[in-house]
């Protein structure tokens, strides 16, 4: 059956997250970006919505089953509020979800209850590396087996909350394939930069550089490892959903502004040049939302082409977010270029999608 309507449970979640995004995240976005920090209180409030908790089975302390479709719905709503805020709230998933997907029974028991039953705590993952053609399938960070343990070497960038993280998943090249490894806080050889990353956008999300020099780690899933494609697809879908949310935010601002702003005796929205931009923004947002949903549904149902679809959704949504957020600024004119106006930040955030893989996961 084809169906395009969230179920009741999903709708409740979407409504709750949407309210939080609109009432809490959106108004805080500008000051958080300028002040380079998201208010702790807001992060806790977002955590209490229970997105991660709802995707962890009861046996590990949660109260539900993971669904990429539900995740995509929630991430879109969150990111509609603010991208940095959304990524802050959801950071513990970066660690917990890969364990849920690929962890051994022992690893699940060890980490999941602690994370989902408690307050928001910094857990994270390290995927990106500093190369222009970064490719999650050919990482420069390496892992070598050493008895029961593994030894990691390399350098990771854009790692959220790395400074205080209780633990992180580090992705590394193990005999030619990408695998995740669990690195404990304070491991010998783990060096987190003092300075935070300085990026074009996302400044309210504290990100760090992480060096690994012969760091001892355990492999996700134990000796037999795990299927990284499942994790990568979940990251791509999250990124796609976030791109849709950011685009929707810019579209909403631009639409409302266009209905208020006068020029040549009419509202600028009454000019086709503006109205058509809005129509195209809305159309492309819808297109990529549906592509993302389908990819998520395929991942949930283990359809054979879920990898390709997640990749297409990720790639297409990134382009779409750039196009839409660019036009958001255009519709505001000169005012769109001024940092006081939200479309400005949205355009900077909108550019990041292809190179910010691994900052969210569903």
């Amino acid at each position: 059956m084809y169906s395009f309507e969230p179920n009741e449970e999903q709708q409740m979640l979407v409504d709750a997250v949407g309210k939080y995004a609109a009432n809490d995240l959106r108004p805080a976005a500008h000051d958080a970006e300028e002040g380079r920090e998201f208010p702790k209180k807001l992060v806790s409030k977002g955590w209490e919505l229970g997105l991660l908790q709802a995707s962890v089975p009861e046996s590990y302390g949660g109260f539900g089953d993971r669904s990429a479709v539900t995740g995509a719905l929630a991430v879109e709503e969150m990111a509609f509020g603010d991208l940095a805020g959304a990524l802050s709230v959801m950071a513990p998933s970066l660690f917990a979800t890969p364990i849920l997907i690929g962890g051994s029974e022992e690893q699940k028991q060890q980490y999941l209850p602690k994370i989902v039953c408690g307050e928001w705590a910094p857990y994270t993952a390290a995927l990106m590396e500093m190369s222009f053609d970064f490719d999650a399938h050919s990482l420069k960070t390496t892992a070598k087996a050493d008895g029961e343990q593994y030894v990691l070497n390399g350098e990771k960038i854009f790692v959220p909350f790395a400074k205080d993280a209780e633990a992180m998943v580090v992705y590394a090249n193990f005999n030619g394939v990408t695998q995740g490894f669990i690195v404990a806080k304070g491991s010998t050889g783990l060096v987190v930069s003092e300075e935070r990353e300085k990026l074009m956008g996302l400044n309210a999300l504290p990100m760090y550089r992480v060096k690994l020099e012969n760091v001892t780690a355990s492999r996700l899933g134990g000796a037999s490892g795990h299927d990284f494609e499942l994790i990568l697809a979940a990251m791509r879908i999250a990124s796609a959903a976030a791109a849709v949310g950011v685009a929707k935010s810019s579209f909403e601002y631009a639409k409302n502004y266009a209905k208020e702003r006068d020029a040549f005796g009419v509202k600028i929205a009454q000019k086709q040049a503006v109205a058509f931009m809005l129509a195209e923004m809305r159309t492309e947002i819808e297109a990529m939302r549906l592509l993302t949903w389908e990819a998520a549904w395929k991942l949930d149902n283990q359809k054979e082409d879920f990898c390709i679809d997640a990749y297409l959704a990720f790639t297409g949504s990134a382009d779409m977010a750039m196009m839409v957020t660019d036009r958001g600024v255009q519709i505001y004119g000169g005012h769109g270029y001024i940092r006081e106006n939200p479309v400005e930040l949205l355009m900077r955030n909108g550019r990041g999608f292809p190179m910010l893989l691994g900052l969210a996961i569903v």
């Binding site: 059956m1 084809y2 009454q270």
Partner: protein, 419 residues
Amino acid sequence: MTIEFEAPKPIVQQQVMLKTVAENMMRSVSREFDENEHSIPWDYVEFMHTAMKAAGGGGGLTVTEEKPKEGAEKRPPIGYQKLATQIEMLSWGDVGMYLITPGGGLGAAAVAAAGSPEQKAKFLERFNGDKPTYAAMCMTEPGAGSDTSSIRTRAVLDEATKEWIINGEKIFVTGGDKSFTEYEKLGKGFIVVWASIDPSAGRSGMRAFVIESGTPGVKINKLEHKMGIRVSDTAAISLVDVRVPFENVLGKPTVEKTNTGFKGAMATFDATRPLVAASGIGVARAALEFLKEKLEENGVKIRYGLPRQKLTNIEREVIDMEIMVKSAWLMVLKAVWMADNKKPNALESSMCKVKAGDVTTKVTQKAVEILGPLGYSRELLLEKWFRDAKITDIYEGTGQINRLVVARQILGYTGAELR
């Protein structure tokens, strides 16, 4: 309800069968009928008529509903979804030939949307007859295309005979010839003509009239020579003192200060735009699949999953095309799913038409470019699909008109506020 993308079983089964038709009865003669414009592929026409009748299709490509089996659980309706997938697959075969699939087409759609139960019974019955039968819809005039409110065709009621007298000129009537000219192999069709019963009332004065084939005063002046979809007849029709029975008017025969007449036309568009979009996407998919096949034959593999920076230009193009075609198709599915579930879909229906118009033209243009001489040569079908594709962005509202509709919907504007 939930979010789900599993094709329903009846659709899966239907697609397997239609693909065979597309390959063996459409593509195999595509070139021949493209080169011999206006000749009729009777084999296809008669085969489709028989096949659709046998399948209980109720006459042509129309929305059908399964009768639930005794005691079985009632399943959600999927009639529009089935129809859109049928159209997509037939257009993947040959979009021009899809357009001449026997049945009521846009003419019957207008009756279905704006007609009374008696009118529906009277006019729609025939498509299930022994011979293939057609109907067409005549809105466009030489002086009025996108701006349908400025049509000049007039209908005046002759109080003495209780007949409508219609005068005017219509152009670009898809299927006009097969609907109106009496062919031995075809059943008796009709055209639906939009006219004003009160020009001072603007849109609220517009009504659609059913005119039976053979009615005196109607003349087919010419069949257009076109860039593509050349097997589909596009007629120019003049109407001089055409007398039509009173009961052939769709909707109220009197003018009120409401937009009911025009609303009838718009309701038709909400239903048909996703179907036009579906047909465009069929062509786009044909072009994309052909492109990938040729690339593979020539040793070019598409390496999905790599970052853009590592892809070749061809790989990037193909991946972008795939994103376009897939997402456009999902938009069509959503629009028809809404129609099936009786959800208002004016926005979704126009959005999917905007998207399909863009995607279909872009994808076919790019495919020709990438394949170079293979794309341009008439030895292969790609150049034809490129020509066929362009119509998607023109009829059932141009890309611009559908953008207007989308913009009005999202801004909450009337036609007067955003023209």
